[in-house]
C-alpha cells in the first residue's frame, strides 16, 4: 500500500539541543491565549468581550468573510484581556483558566451513518475546522471548496522538530478515526511517513500511505504534494497536521473539542530539551521554567522550528499549529573579519567558502545573526540546491517581487507555501527574505484570483 518517494535536494541541519524522547505532562498553565495572527488571512470578528466567562470549545471569534468558521476557546475560564495592536488589530485573546474545566459537548449522530455534509458541519460548529488548511495560499481551508485530495504529513524533517512517532504515541486510535472521518470529505487521502517508520502509524487504513526518504524539506507537505499529486491552477487540496487529525478523531469520539498539543521544546540553550503534553494556547512560562535555561532575555523563543516558526517571547503562548518550540540565542554580536573565506567555520554553511563541510557530523549551535547584509541577487544555483520541486525558485521569487501575476502562475506559485522557501532564506548569500516574498505574493494571488 505504501509508495516510496525519494527526495535528493535539500539540507538536514544538525543542531545541538534536539529533544530527548521522554514525554512529560506539561506543568499546568493558568493563562491561555488564542492569537488570530496564527490564522493567516482571517479577519477576526469577536463574539466575546473582556470579563466574559467561556467554556472550552465555545467560540471566541469567527472569520468575517467566512462566518461559518468558528475559532473556539481551548479552555474554560474568563476572558482576561483582548490585546490589540496598531490599527486596533486583535493580537491575543487572553483567557485565565478555571480550576474546574467545563466544555461544550456536541451531540453526534452514529459515526457509521454520518454523511460528509454532517462531518463538515460538525467540524465547523465545534471549532475543529481551522485545523484544515488549504493549498494554494496556505490559509484556513474554504469550507465551500471541494478539494481534489487531502494530505497529512507525519514526517518531520525540519531542524530540532518534534517527531511524529513520539507525538502520536498513544493517540493511534484517535488518529485512525480522524483519518476515517477526513477520508469521507475526499476519497484521495494521502498520509506521508518516514522511510523507516515502524510505529503503528504505518498501518493506518483508509488512506494512501507514502514513504518519503531524503533530507529536509522532505517532511514539508508542499514537497510531498508536488511529488504525489501536484496542484494545477484552479485546484485545491487540503492539508491537516498529524496531531490535528488525532484531535479531530477525539472530537468524533467524545463530542468535545480537543486542543491537545504535544510539544518538543528544543534548542541548545535549554538544560533538558524534551517533549511535553500541552494544550494549544497554553502560556509558555511554566514550560520554559520546567525545561530550564539561563538568561532568557538573551534568547529567542520561537513557536515552530527555527526555519519557519514565529518569534514569540518567554511569556508568550503555544501557537495553533506548531508541535515544536525552539529556543536559540539572539545573535546581536559583531564578528571581526567574519566575511573572510574560511573564517568562522564553527558556523554552518552550505557553501565551500567555509570549512564546515569538513565536519559533517558536527552538531551546530546557531544564533539569530544574519551573518551578513541584504544584497542584490547575484549568486545563482544555490537556491535550487535546497528546493526539491520541479520549479525554478529564483525565477519565481523574481516574478513575485515584480508582482507579475501571470508569470507567478506559470512558474508554479500555486504549488508552494512560504515554508517551502525556508531553506532558501537560510542558504542564499544575498540574504533575501524568500518566505516573506512568497507570503506577500500568495496574498496578492488570493486577492486577485481567489
Amino acid at each position: 500500500m505504501s509508495t516510496d518517494i525519494k527526495i535528493r535536494k535539500g539540507l538536514s541541519l544538525r543542531l545541538k539541543g534536539a529533544p530527548t524522547n521522554t514525554l512529560k505532562t506539561a506543568p499546568p498553565s493558568t493563562q491561555f491565549a488564542l492569537k488570530p495572527i496564527d490564522f493567516h488571512g482571517v479577519f477576526p470578528k469577536l463574539v466575546c468581550k473582556e470579563g466574559d466567562a467561556v467554556q472550552a470549545g465555545q467560540p471566541l471569534f469567527y472569520s468575517k468573510y467566512q462566518d461559518s468558521i468558528q475559532f473556539v476557546s481551548p479552555v474554560s475560564g474568563t476572558v482576561k484581556e483582548i490585546l490589540r495592536g496598531a490599527k486596533r488589530k486583535i493580537l491575543e485573546i487572553v483567557i485565565s483558566a478555571d480550576k474546574k474545566q467545563q466544555s461544550v459537548t456536541h451531540k453526534l449522530p452514529s459515526l457509521n451513518k454520518i454523511t460528509p455534509e454532517q462531518i463538515k458541519e460538525y467540524l465547523l460548529a465545534s471549532g475543529n475546522w481551522p485545523f484544515i488548511k488549504q493549498r494554494p495560499y496556505d490559509i484556513v481551508a474554504n469550507p465551500n471548496a471541494t478539494p481534489k485530495a487531502i494530505f497529512v504529513s507525519a514526517l518531520a524533517t525540519a531542524p530540532l522538530s518534534a517527531q511524529y512517532d513520539v507525538i502520536l504515541e498513544g493517540q493511534q486510535d484517535a488518529f485512525q478515526l480522524g483519518i476515517d472521518m477526513l477520508s469521507k470529505l475526499s476519497p484521495n487521502l494521502h498520509l506521508s511517513i518516514g522511510a523507516k517508520e515502524s510505529s503503528q502509524i504505518a498501518q493506518t487504513k483508509n488512506c494512501k500511505v507514502h514513504r518519503i526518504k531524503g533530507p529536509h524539506p522532505a517532511g514539508n507537505v508542499g514537497v510531498q504534494i508536488h511529488h504525489i499529486d501536484p496542484i494545477n491552477a484552479g485546484e485545491t487540496v487540503w492539508v491537516v497536521g498529524a496531531e490535528d487529525v488525532a484531535n479531530i478523531g477525539r472530537f468524533f469520539q467524545t463530542g468535545v473539542f480537543d486542543p491537545t498539543r504535544t510539544l518538543a521544546v528544543a534548542g541548545h540553550p535549554l538544560n533538558t530539551p524534551c517533549y511535553y503534553k500541552s494544550t494549544i494556547g497554553a502560556s509558555l512560562e511554566p514550560l520554559l521554567e520546567d525545561v530550564g535555561t539561563e538568561n532568557l532575555a538573551t534568547l529567542r523563543v520561537i513557536n515552530g522550528d527555527v526555519l519557519t516558526g514565529t518569534a514569540t517571547s518567554a511569556n508568550g503562548y503555544v501557537g495553533y499549529y506548531n508541535n515544536t518550540i525552539s529556543v536559540v540565542p539572539e545573535g546581536n554580536r559583531y564578528r571581526m573579519f567574519g566575511w573572510l573565506p574560511f573564517a568562522g567555520s564553527n558556523l554552518h554553511s552550505m557553501s565551500n567558502t567555509s570549512l564546515s563541510w569538513l565536519f559533517p557530523k558536527k552538531q551546530y549551535t546557531p544564533d539569530t545573526n544574519l551573518n551578513g547584509e541584504e544584497r542584490a541577487l547575484v549568486v545563482t544555483g544555490e537556491m535550487e540546491r535546497v528546493f526539491p520541486m520541479d520549479i525554478y525558485p529564483m525565477q519565481l521569487l523574481k516574478a513575485c517581487m515584480a508582482n507579475d501575476i501571470e508569470k507567478m502562475e506559470q512558474l508554479g506559485i500555486y504549488e508552494v507555501a512560504p515554508e517551502d522557501f525556508a531553506l532558501i532564506d537560510y542558504a542564499n548569500s544575498s540574504k533575501i527574505e524568500a518566505q516573506a516574498i512568497i507570503r506577500e505574493a500568495l496574498d496578492l494571488m488570493n486577492k486577485e484570483i481567489g
Binding site: 536559540v328 547584509e373 542584490a376
Partner: protein
Amino acid sequence: MLRKQIDRLKKPFAKGSKYERFAPAVNAFDTFLFVPNHTTQKGAHIRDAVDLKRTMVTVIIALIPALIYGIYNTGYQYYIQTGEAFTFLDAFLHGSFKILPMIAVSYGVGLAIEFAFAVYRGHEVNEGYLVTGLLIPMIMPVDIPLWMVGLSVAFAVFIAKEAFGGTGMNILNPALTARAFAFFAYPTYMSGNKVWVSEASNVDGISGETILGSLASGVNVDYSMFEMFSGAIPGSIAETSTLWVLVGAAILIFTGVGSWRIMLGGVIGAAVMGFLFNLWGANALMQFDWMNHLIVGGFAFGIVFMATDPVSAAQTVRGKWIYGILVGILCILIRVFNPAYPEGVMLAILLMNVFAPTIDHYVVQANVNRRLKRKQHSTTVQTA
C-alpha cells in the same frame, strides 16, 4: 574596544541624524571590519554563514595567482627584450610599478561611482565591484595610459551596470564592457605589436605581438607549448598564464563560487570547434592546434573568470551548459574567421551575455509548458 570607537564615529550617520544619507558609504567600511550585529527579523531565524562579501572575496583570492604571474611576466617581457640581466624581484618590481597604479585607478574611479550610486539610491554598497575593479586592469594591455583605464571603468560602471539598475541587474559583464570600450575607442592602444610589452610604445627597440595577432597576420609563431601554458608570452596583463588561471579555476570550482558547468562547457565548445577547424585547415589560424587554442590568448582567463560571472551568465543549470558551450564555439569562430579581432573570447562572452536571458527563457519555458500540459492532462481525466 575598536567596536566602541567605530560606534562612536558612526553616530552622526545613524537614522534621523544629520548625515543619515551617507550611511551606506560609512557602512561599507564598517562591514569590512565587522560582520554586523543584524539579527533575523522575518523568515528563517537562523542563517548560513555565507554572504556576498565572502563570495566576492573568494573570487579575488582566485584571481591573485594570475595577477602575481601577470606582474612578473610584465617585467620578464621587458627585460628579455632589452637584454638586461634581471632577477625575479627586478621583474616583479618593474611589473608592480606598471600595474599597481592601474589597479589603484580602477578601484578609485569605480568605487567612487559605486559609493555615489549607493548614497543616491539609498542601498548598501554591493561588493561586486571589488572583483570587477581588479579584473579590468588584469585584462588590459600593460602600456595603456591610466586615463584610458579610468575612462573605461567609468563607462563600464555607468553604462553596463548602473544604467541597468546596479549590481545583479546588468546584462553585460562590466569588466569586459570596460575592455570592449577601450578596444573600440582606442584601437591603437589595444592591438598591434606595440602595446603588449612594457615600454614598447616608448622605446623603439621593444615590440611584441600576441600569438593570435601573429597568426592572424600570417607570421609564424615560435613559442613552445610550455611557454604558452606557463604564460611567458606577450598579452594582456594577467591572461597569459593558463597554469595560474587553472589554479584560480580550481579555487572557484572547489568553493562552488564559479560554475564548473560553464567552464567545462566552454572548454568542450572550444575544443570541438578547434578540432573541426584543424580538420579543415585552410589557413594558419585553422591549422593552429586545437589544444593550443585553449591555452593561448584570453580564452582560459575569460572562460574561468568572465563567463562565470553569475549575473551576466545563464542562470539555470541547463542554460549554463548551453551558454558555456556556445561561448567556447564562438570564441574559436571569431578567432578564425575575423582576423581584425584576433582575440575572440571577449566578443564571444559579451555576445553570449546578451543571449543568456534568451537561453534561460527557453529553459524556463520548458518548465512552464510542462506545468500547462499537466493541467490539461488532469482536466481531461476529470471530465472523462
